[in-house]
Symmetry: C2
Subunit: 323 residues, 2 copies
């Protein structure tokens, strides 16, 4: 999950000369940083370097990504009328730079490891588009969904259709798997979760032309994992607050599980990294269907040698689970 990043000196060297969005939009550079972790860390798959907010940006919303503040839209969506401003035709065409980055990355990978592409889920994209920036309470986007649910659903449907197109294009361009991130699913009450988040993830999953490319859904912070069990996807992402053994029994064996390690464990001494790796593998238990991963994005200050050590631990210790 988000393997490339500020923790790598090789990435920082490129970022010193290029702002974040330009990096996303320049296939030569995006493919270069995508491939970095494969050589440096030794992970088993590459994740295309990008950002979930390229979709609203391609709809005409002016986006700035500031390291100090995170992403900022200077003219957020606040009403049904604001939806008129969105340029919803030809979104995937305007994201063609990503398809070019996929093709270049596939060339650079040259078959060594598979490539994963991702998209934000409609609810998470909508939170940023309405709040205009990060939020603690998300009261602006929630005010919109409670006060004008029709406008909210219109926006979510626009986004769901765009995500279907976008992920299908990514698969066609060469992604071997796609992931749908709903980073802010966990801020919704059970009823609102179904109405404003899961409904649209379900819609997307049913419309992906996957050609057998696995589909990963990560709805962060969703307590009741059984709600994800019926999604038409292959893998469910888990953060670190759930027990992966319990998750396996709640979700059932029809889906693989991904994740579960607290990204902060990479700041711990080697013994703790090994212990936590062992614990997660044991809790998952024997058998196939576990994509070992962090439970969220890798943090900027993570020591590189600890990521390398983690990968070596996983490779060494997971053998037992597959005897």
């Amino acid at each position: 999950m988000r393997q490339a990043g500020r923790y790598l000196p090789e990435y920082r060297a490129i970022r010193e000369k290029t702002d974040f969005l330009t990096l996303c939009k320049t296939p030569e550079l995006a493919s270069e940083v995508t491939v970095q972790p494969i050589d440096i860390i030794g992970v088993d798959a590459a994740i295309l370097f990008s950002d979930i907010l390229v979709i609203p940006e391609a709809m005409g919303m002016h986006l700035e990504v500031l390291e100090s503040k995170g992403p900022v839209f200077d003219a957020p969506i606040r009403s049904r009328g604001d939806l008129q401003r969105l340029n919803i035709d030809g979104v995937t065409e305007r994201l063609n730079y990503i398809m070019d980055a996929i093709k270049m990355t596939k060339e650079k990978l040259n078959g060594r490891v598979p490539l994963i592409g991702f998209s934000g889920a409609p609810w998470t994209l909508a939170t940023y588009m309405v709040e205009g920036k990060g939020s603690k309470s998300f009261d602006t986007v929630k005010s919109l969904i409670f006060t004008d649910p029709v406008a909210a659903h219109e926006l979510l449907q626009i986004l769901a259709d765009a995500v279907v197109d976008y992920l299908n294009a990514k698969i066609r361009a060469g992604c071997d798997a796609v992931q749908i991130f709903d980073t802010w699913a966990g801020i919704l009450s059970p009823g609102d979760l179904e109405e404003f988040s899961l409904k649209y993830i379900r819609y997307i999953c049913e419309r992906l032309e996957t050609n057998d490319a696995p589909v990963i859904v990560f709805a962060k912070g969703v307590n009741d994992l059984s709600k994800l069990a019926d999604l038409k996807c292959d893998v469910i992402g888990l953060d670190w607050t759930v027990d992966i053994g319990v998750a396996r029994s709640e979700i059932g064996s029809t889906k693989a599980l991904q994740g579960n390690l607290d990204p902060c464990v990479l700041f711990a001494p080697k013994e703790k990294i090994r212990l936590e790796t062992e614990r997660i593998l044991e809790r998952f238990g024997p058998g196939e269907g576990h994509v070992f991963n962090l439970g969220h994005g890798i943090l900027p200050k993570t020591p590189v040698e600890n990521t390398q050590y983690l990968v070596s631990c996983v490779k060494e210790l997971s053998v037992r689970n597959h005897l």
Copy 2:
């Protein structure tokens, strides 16, 4: 939960003349804002106006509370050596201004409604003391607990003992119930949650001299509520992401439940406020043991009339549950 606040013009009038910490430390003013919501909103209990960080402040840590940035400690705890800086004797004595505020509030309330006092749980207090300010990833405090668990436990034990003393003093001063908040319990993996959070909440609950004052524990973001079922407390607080009916069956009938309404619902039209109130009461079902409340603190921009409407809905609709 945190009833007084910026959403009330009467509170803002006082804050215009007084900074946040001075307000906490001036019994005449703290008691005045504590009583405001009783008259204005019509709630059934008062919550003493204060802040969880008065404990580290009384241990000698310099605290600033900035409206734009939240709380900031300018010299956070980063190592075992830093613990020497904490002045851990006589903490409750230095918090005597709070006991005075309790006595004044009880006089102002004059028996109309009970008074609830609160404390942060050791883990949440430690996160602020180590991070020095709010955080998204909490990598600094987690680095400490993973790298030097002995120091982390020393800090948590110091805090646990301080919280026991502090809450016992609050009960002696006249609080009719006490609440322990673990706002950041939900950022821990299941094993770390037990080791660094619940262990200390359990320690506190076993040592409170309650004189039958109910003890409320709110460990926000804890997915597996059965973990809280054996705590020696009377009420478990719930945020809005869980179904209160499911929570009731997981925790069992020996404890009452508090909370469950998304604070953002107070930004919704009246019909939605009524509908959500109805839904939560129905999900809880008939019988005693539900303290209707928000699932977290009331938000600064909440319209006052909506809080009044919520209280009237709860009073009207909850009658059915008690037939």
